[in-house]
C-alpha cells in the first residue's frame, strides 16, 4: 500500500511512530537555533564542563590510536576498563561488582539509561521520578513503552523527592523509581537518611531503583551517597555513571551501568544489537581517567565551587531567589518575581542581553518559573552574564 492511499484510509496516519509523537517537543530547540545565529552570546545553557579533557587522558587515547586500538571491544566493554571500574566502585563506595557480569560499559549514561528502561519495562509499567528532572528521563520511559509518574519537587523542599510522595504514587503497575542526585537541572543533593527512606519504599513495594549518579564527584561541602550502598539496595539498584562530567569527557561518549547479573544480561542483549560497544578510543581514555584522573577532578571541583558561590550570590543580588545548589554545576533560580514564564524570560534574555539560559519548563511542569544556569564557564563570563541579567531584571519590573 502506498503512503498516499494509506493516508486516505486513516486521517491519523503518520510517517513516524505514535510512540515518538508522544514525546514532548523540546522547548529548547528554538532557542538553540536562535543562539547559533547570534554573536557575542554568553552561554549558561550547555550542561558540559568548559575544561578540555585533561591532557594525560587525551594523550593515552592518542597513544592507543598509534598502537592500533581501532577495533570493536567486547560488548561488555574492555576487560581492563571493567576491572578499573570495579576497583573504583570498591574504593569509593565499598561496593563489589563482578567486572565480568555486573558491569556494562555504555555510550554515555544516556545509553545506559535507555538500556535500563528497555530492559526492565513492560507496556503497562510505571516509573516514578522527580519533576523537574533531566530531559531524557521521561522520554526514555515513554520510548520503552512505560508511563512516567511525576513527583513534584520545588525550591521549598530543596528539590528533593520525598519517600512519602513516592509511596503515595505507588500502584500495582509501579516497576521502578528513577532518580538522579546530584541533580540536573537543580543542583540538589539528597542526604543519606532521606535516600534511605526511599530505599525503604523500594524494599516494601519490591521496586527497582535506577540511580543516575553522573555528577557523583561534583558535590560541594556535602557527601554524595551512592544509592546502591544503602541496606539491601545493591540488588535493587541499577547504578548509572559516566566520565563526561567529572573528567570533562562529554564528547568521548563513555558511561556505565552497574547492576545484578540478570539486569546487566538483559541490557547487553539490547546493547549488542544497537551499539555493539562503546567507542574503543573513549574506553582507553576512561581507563586512564580512572587510573590517574583524581588530581584533575579535585582541581576542577575546586574551580566549580568558586563559580558556584559567585553565581548564587550574584543571582541573589539581582533579586532572584535562588536555591543553594550543592552538587553538579547548575544554579536554578526562580524567575517568578519577574512575572514572565520561564520560556519568555529565556527568550527575552537571549534577545535583549545575549545571555543563554535554559527554561525550567524544559525539565518538567514543576520547572516552570525557574531557569537553569550552568556555571561550568569562566568566572569572567559568569560575572558578565550576571551583570547583563541584572540589567535585564531591572528593565522588566513586574
Amino acid at each position: 500500500m502506498s503512503i498516499s492511499s494509506k493516508s486516505q484510509h486513516s486521517k491519523y496516519y503518520s510517517l513516524t511512530s505514535q510512540r515518538v509523537e508522544q514525546l514532548s517537543p523540546s522547548g529548547i530547540r528554538k532557542f538553540f537555533d536562535l543562539l547559533a545565529s547570534m554573536e557575542g552570546v554568553i552561554s549558561l545553557g550547555v550542561g558540559e564542563p568548559d575544561f578540555v579533557t585533561p591532557w594525560h587522558i587525551r594523550e593515552a587515547a592518542i597513544y592507543s590510536l598509534e598502537k592500533g586500538y581501532t577495533m570493536y571491544t567486547s560488548n561488555l566493554g574492555m576487560p581492563e576498563l571493567r576491572q578499573e571500574l570495579s576497583r573504583y566502585l570498591k574504593d569509593n563506595y565499598e561496593l563489589e561488582y563482578d567486572p565480568n557480569s555486573e558491569l556494562l560499559i555504555t555510550v554515555g549514561v544516556s545509553e545506559a539509561l535507555d538500556l535500563a528502561m528497555r530492559a526492565i519495562l513492560n507496556p503497562v509499567d510505571e516509573v516514578i521520578m522527580p519533576d523537574p528532572h533531566y530531559v531524557a528521563y521521561d522520554s526514555c520511559v515513554i520510548l520503552s513503552g512505560g508511563t512516567p509518574i511525576m513527583v513534584p519537587t520545588n525550591q521549598e523542599n530543596n528539590f528533593e523527592i520525598s519517600a512519602a510522595d513516592i509511596e503515595a504514587r505507588v500502584t500495582s503497575k509501579t516497576k521502578a523509581i528513577l532518580i538522579g542526585y546530584p541533580a540536573n537541572p537543580t543542583g540538589a543533593v539528597m542526604s543519606k537518611h532521606k535516600l534511605a527512606d526511599i530505599a525503604e519504599v523500594a524494599r516494601r513495594h519490591q521496586l527497582l531503583v535506577i540511580s543516575d549518579e553522573i555528577y557523583a564527584k561534583l558535590v560541594y561541602g556535602v557527601e554524595h551517597t551512592c544509592f546502591a550502598t544503602l541496606p539491601e539496595m545493591k540488588e535493587r539498584t541499577i547504578l548509572l555513571g559516566g566520565f563526561s562530567k567529572v573528567y570533562a569527557m562529554t564528547g568521548w561518549r563513555v558511561g556505565y551501568a552497574a547492576a545484578t547479573k540478570e539486569v546487566i544480561a538483559a541490557m547487553i542483549r539490547i546493547h549488542q544489537y544497537t551499539m555493539m560497544c562503546a567507542p574503543t578510543m573513549g574506553q582507553v581514555a576512561a581507563i586512564e581517567a580512572l587510573k590517574s584522573g583524581e588530581d584533575s577532578v579535585t582541581k576542577m571541583v575546586e574551580d566549580y565551587n568558586k563559580r558556584r558561590l559567585v553565581i548564587v550570590k550574584g543571582l541573589k543580588d539581582i533579586g532572584l531567589t535562588c536555591f543553594e545548589p550543592q552538587g553538579a554545576f547548575y544554579a536554578f533560580p526562580s524567575i517568578k518575581g519577574t512575572g514572565m514564564s520561564s520560556e519568555q524570560f529565556t527568550e527575552r534574555l537571549l534577545i535583549e542581553e545575549k545571555v543563554a539560559v535554559v527554561p525550567g519548563s524544559a525539565f518538567g511542569q514543576c520547572g516552570e518559573g525557574y531557569v537553569r544556569c550552568c556555571y561550568a564557564t569562566s568566572l569572567a563570563d559568569i560575572e558578565e552574564a550576571l551583570s547583563r541579567m541584572k540589567r535585564f531584571v531591572a528593565k522588566h519590573p513586574k
Binding site: I28, F31, F32, L35, A36, S43, G45, V46, G47, E48, D50, V52, V135, E302, N305, K306, L309, V310, K313, A356, V358
Partner: protein, 160 residues
C-alpha cells in the same frame, strides 16, 4: 583558609577582596585582614603580570646557566649563591642536585649582554669552577602558562 585565598590570588592577582570573599565564604573584612597579614609576613612576595614580550617586538634573550662551584667551609653554597643572585640579570637561581650545583636563569636584551654577564661577572667569582650556558631558542611554556597556541574552549552550540 589563607591557603584558599592564596590559591585564588596565585591564578589571578587582580581578584578583588570582595570576589574572594564570595568564592571562599569568608567575610570580606577577614579576607582583607588575611591578605594584609600575608603581605606583611612575606607569604605574598609581590603581585606581578605575566607578559609575552614577543608580542610587542621586545627582544629578550633567555639563558640557562649551569654553574659548578666549590662549597666554602661553614658557608656551604649559600654565600656564592648570594653573590650570584644579587645580580639583576639572574632572574632565577636554584641549588640543584646532579653534575653541577647552581642553575641560573639569566635574561638580557642581547646574547652579547648575557655572554658578558657570564664571562665578566659570574665566571670570575671566587669559588665558581665552571659554567655551561644554554641559550633558549624558544619558550613554549612559562610558569604553567602556554605562551602560544593555547587551546580555547571548542564547545558546539548544543543544549542538553
Amino acid at each position: 583558609m589563607i591557603k584558599d585565598i592564596l590559591k585564588i590570588l596565585e591564578t589571578d592577582a587582580r581578584t578583588t577582596t570582595k570576589q574572594i570573599a564570595t568564592m571562599t565564604n569568608i567575610p570580606t573584612a577577614e579576607v582583607a585582614r588575611l591578605i594584609k597579614q600575608a603581605e606583611k609576613d612575606h607569604t605574598i612576595l609581590k603581585y606581578k603580570t605575566m607578559i609575552n614580550w614577543d608580542k610587542v617586538g621586545e627582544e629578550q634573550v633567555w639563558a640557562l646557566i649551569e654553574v659548578k662551584i666549590a662549597p666554602q667551609r661553614e658557608l656551604g653554597f649559600d654565600s656564592i649563591a648570594e653573590r650570584i643572585y644579587r645580580f639583576a640579570q639572574a632572574r632565577t637561581v636554584y641549588l640543584v642536585s646532579g653534575t653541577y650545583d647552581l642553575l641560573v636563569l639569566a635574561v638580557g636584551k642581547t646574547m652579547h649582554e648575557v655572554a658578558d654577564f657570564v664571562s665578566q661577572k659570574l665566571a670570575p667569582i671566587e669559588g665558581v669552577q665552571g659554567t655551561i650556558t644554554h641559550f633558549a631558542l624558544k619558550r613554549y611554556k612559562e610558569d604553567g602558562e602556554i605562551l602560544e597556541g593555547e587551546e580555547g574552549v571548542k564547545r558546539q552550540p548544543v543544549i542538553l
